[in-house]
């Protein structure tokens, strides 16, 4: 218990240490209530294997936070903690607190379906349902029991517009989503997530299966989306993390090595391993 | 509300799965209870040692041996047909045949197993027996030979298909090692591949035997309905299954000793197939561990 407060202090200290660097930042939240997601002393196990070790981290609303690190470092596991997608893995066990919107999400009281509506997710490989484009976006509403056709139509249209897919598909919404290109499919998956009005969007290497042009489109999208949503993105691509994120956290072998402003992490990392990784010396 | 619905659905799904357990319990209980009533009137010793089975006659004898001998005779003949052919097909398809040929021939062979067994019975009685009678004069119109041969044709796909799977699971490096030393495909097949896949092949043979023992309509039609303790394949015999059919076709009152004889025959049949199936599962599990 002592340890917890120590680490918390450490993080607080780091926040204050960050202050001189962020000269152009005007608003600087300090209270826990102003953070969207807080994890405290988080340990994650798969059976005997410990995938995450004592993670303490806070994520700001209306920003893009990038999780980086070499394969198997625990960044994807960490991402999936926020919408409890790890629950289906055998032997998965978690200790510590994960707080989203001031609610501990690993308690009995949490309704997991509601959590996942609030915390949406976009996956590594585009995974549209083998249904029409329209039905893909409408799916989230339908499972909530929404029957109002007018509302669904509007929601589908606005969601597709948000991801700039509307003009490309508006004439064939009845077409099977699997007929779209990879980049279009991924934007469709983002639209599908937006349609249920989440607060947080988790993205697990969303562009790793896409060509550079499609990647560019999705990165552009992130700039627009962060005005309305809190975005956490896992990426393998250093340039991408540098381009799109406001904050960056570096994971290595289940430890959170370093986190902070992206500009700071990429220009003067305080940890040697972070520096080695972002300069491409390993990973 | 939503939670309750989810729980109710899960309970329904679980119940459906449990029906399979209830089926097994039902089978075991039905056979055991009726057989128990049977053995209150007939001693187990008589059942196992008497050489005559005449429950439907006035002078009743209850020795299961004639039915067992009929069952094993037809099954042995069937395996004698199916094993060499099935195993050859398996080796040929896995070691010799081009991929395209295999892809077309395998589903065609499965057709042999899709033909209803009454149809095979018809073949045995109206085609195979008359043909064999021209070669073997004095052969009876009902006999275990033609029933066994036709049953063998029917179970070829069981042996060929499962054995082929086992052979193809043998790593190619083993074959290449053998070819590298100048072996022919035949030598490689019999000295390397077949021994390496032996457990899978044994499983296929056991399952084929189990299938032959439980087969009903072919033997009921073509092997005759005369319980006889013999190993002569040319005369009429009766199998456990054919006896059950014979009694079921007649008008035997419930709760009579005759009625219970079919359960006594049934439990004997069940025990044999149960043991065979479990041996094959046991070998399969051991074999899986070996390859992982």
């Amino acid at each position: 218990m002592n340890y917890r407060s120590e680490t918390q202090e450490l993080i607080m200290k780091k926040d204050t240490m960050d202050t001189p660097v962020e000269t152009n930042e005007t608003k600087k939240p300090k209270k826990d209530q102003e953070y969207k997601i807080i994890t405290r002393n988080l340990d994650v196990f798969y059976g005997e294997f410990q995938a995450l070790k004592n993670i303490n981290m806070k994520i700001l609303p209306y920003s893009v936070t990038a999780l980086i690190g070499p394969s198997g470092c625990g960044k994807s596991t960490y991402l999936r903690v926020f919408n409890r997608m790890n629950d289906y893995i055998d032997d998965f066990r978690i200790e510590g607190d994960v707080i989203v919107d001031r609610k501990n999400i690993y308690t009995e009281k949490i309704e997991i379906e509601q959590l996942r509506k609030d915390v949406g997710m976009v996956f590594q490989k585009p995974n549209p349902f083998p249904k029409t484009i329209f039905e893909n976006v409408a799916y989230g509403l339908r499972i909530q029991g929404v029957k109002d056709k007018h509302f669904i139509n509007e929601k589908v249209e606005s969601s597709l517009k948000q991801v700039t897919l509307w003009d490309e598909v508006k004439d064939n919404l009845k077409k099977n989503a699997l007929a779209l290109s990879g980049g279009q499919q991924q934007r469709l998956c983002i639209a599908r997530t937006l349609a249920v009005e989440p607060e947080v969007i988790l993205m697990d290497e969303p562009t790793s299966a896409l060509d550079p042009i499609s990647t560019g489109k999705i990165e552009e999208l992130l700039f627009d989306l962060k005005n309305e949503y809190t975005i956490v993105i896992v990426t393998h691509n250093m340039q991408q993390a540098a381009r799109v994120s406001d904050h960056t956290a570096f994971f290595y072998m289940g430890d959170l090595i370093e986190e902070g402003k992206t500009t700071q992490i990429f220009t003067k990392p305080s940890n040697k391993r972070t520096e080695n990784y972002i300069t491409g010396r390993f990973g | 509300m939503k939670k309750t619905k989810e729980v109710v659905i899960e309970k329904f799904l679980l119940f459906s799965a449990l029906i399979t357990i209830l089926t097994t319990i039902g089978i075991v209980l039905v056979l055991a209870i009726e057989a128990f009533k049977f053995f209150r009137e007939v001693s187990v010793f008589e059942f196992l040692t008497d050489t005559e089975w005449t429950p439907l006659f006035t002078k009743k004898r209850f020795g299961i041996l004639p039915l067992l001998s009929g069952t094993f005779l037809t099954s042995i003949i069937a395996i004698a047909v199916a094993l060499p052919i099935g195993l050859t097909i398996a080796i040929f398809l896995s070691e010799y045949a081009p991929r395209k040929f295999r892809e077309y021939i395998k589903p065609s062979l499965e057709m042999l197993a899709a033909v209803p067994t009454v149809v095979y019975g018809f073949f045995a009685l109206t085609v195979v027996t008359p043909f064999l009678q021209t070669i073997i004069p004095g052969m009876s119109g009902f006999n275990s030979l033609s029933a066994g041969i036709v049953m063998g044709i029917m179970i070829i796909p069981i042996i060929s298909s499962l054995s082929e799977d086992a052979l193809r699971a043998v790593p190619n490096s083993l074959r290449e090692a053998s070819y590298g030393m100048g072996s022919t495909r035949l030598q490689t097949a019999f000295k390397v591949t077949v021994p390496a896949a032996s457990s899978g092949i044994v499983v296929s043979i056991i399952l084929a035997i189990s299938r032959a023992i439980g087969e009903t309509m072919i033997v009921a039609i073509a092997a005759g309905q005369q319980p006889r303790l013999t190993m002569n394949p040319l005369v009429p015999v009766e199998t456990l299954t054919a006896y059950i059919v014979q009694v079921s076709l007649g008008d035997v009152p419930h709760n009579s000793l005759e009625y219970r004889t079919i359960f006594a025959a049934g439990i004997t049949l069940f025990i044999f197939t149960f043991i065979l199936n479990n041996i094959s599962h046991w070998i399969k599990n051991k074999y899986r561990e070996k390859y992982d």
């Binding site: 289906y88 996942r116 509506k117 997710m121 996956f123 995974n127 349902f129 989230g140 499972i143 699997l178 998956c189 599908r192 | 799904l13 459906s16 799965a17 449990l18 029906i19 399979t20 089926t23 097994t24 039905v30 056979l31 052919i85 050859t88 040929f92 065609s108 062979l109 057709m111 042999l112 899709a114 033909v115 209803p116 067994t117 009454v118 149809v119 019975g121 018809f122 073949f123 009685l125 085609v127 070829i156 100048g182 022919t184 030598q187 189990s210 439980g214 087969e215 009903t216 009921a220 039609i221 299954t241 059950i244 059919v245 079921s248 049949l269 069940f270 197939t273 199936n277 094959s280 599962h281």
Partner: protein, 287 residues
Amino acid sequence: MTSRKNRNNRLKDKIFSVWGIISTLIGLILLVIFIGDIIIEGIHRIDWDFLTGLPSRKPEIAGIFTAMMGTIWVLLLTAMISFPIGVAAGVYLEEYGKKGRLSKLLEINISNLAGVPSIIYGLLGLEIFARIMNLGSSILAGSMTLALLILPIIIVATRESIKAVPSSLKDASFALGATKWQTIYLQVLPASFGGILTGVILALSRAVGEAAPLIVVGALAYVPFAPKTPMDEFSVLPIQIFNWISRPQHGFITNAAAAIIILLVITFAMNGVAIYLRNKWQKKIKW
């Protein structure tokens, strides 16, 4: 010496390869001969009167109408009973009861049931359905018996098809806040439906050809009228064939051959539909 031995080995190799082709084709050739023989024997007997005729002591006027109706009744009822139970059990095993002693037990039990001879199911149906549940030798009792018989096939087919559904599809559904059952019902089952249907049709085609368990349950060889309700007594094509085969007059052998042609057409048609569905489904869905 060595070269002669080598030549010898090569010759053996050649001989085996010829023997391999013969073995592979022998079963199929015999099947073709059998079927050819049956067609020659029975095809001329098939006409409208044969299809719509009632059973008779005279082979020339006997028809398969009652047996045909019995087969259709049994087929429909068996499908209605086994389909929901089999799919539900398959879904449970694949999606809910993945771990634990119970599912291990269920799994062993199902593979054991698959190896139980069909006639044993007949004894089960006779005692439980016909006698204890007092259904008598009715279509319902026979169909319930056959449903239990093909349940393992349907369960295994369901599990295989569900296993082939990519987990990314489930992830996407869960991530949108769908419950487990919503995900199964809206994503998993539609995506695996082709495979499940293929398995169900193959299982039913096996049920159509079964005679032994129905004989034991008490289905009759001679039924004067076509059944009208599930509680009626009945006959089916395989039993009618069996009955005709065991008659001495040659006319009945011809009838049996003709009825076999009908039965084979039904069986092969069902297998054909199943294979067609499987291929179509495999082509349609690629992830």
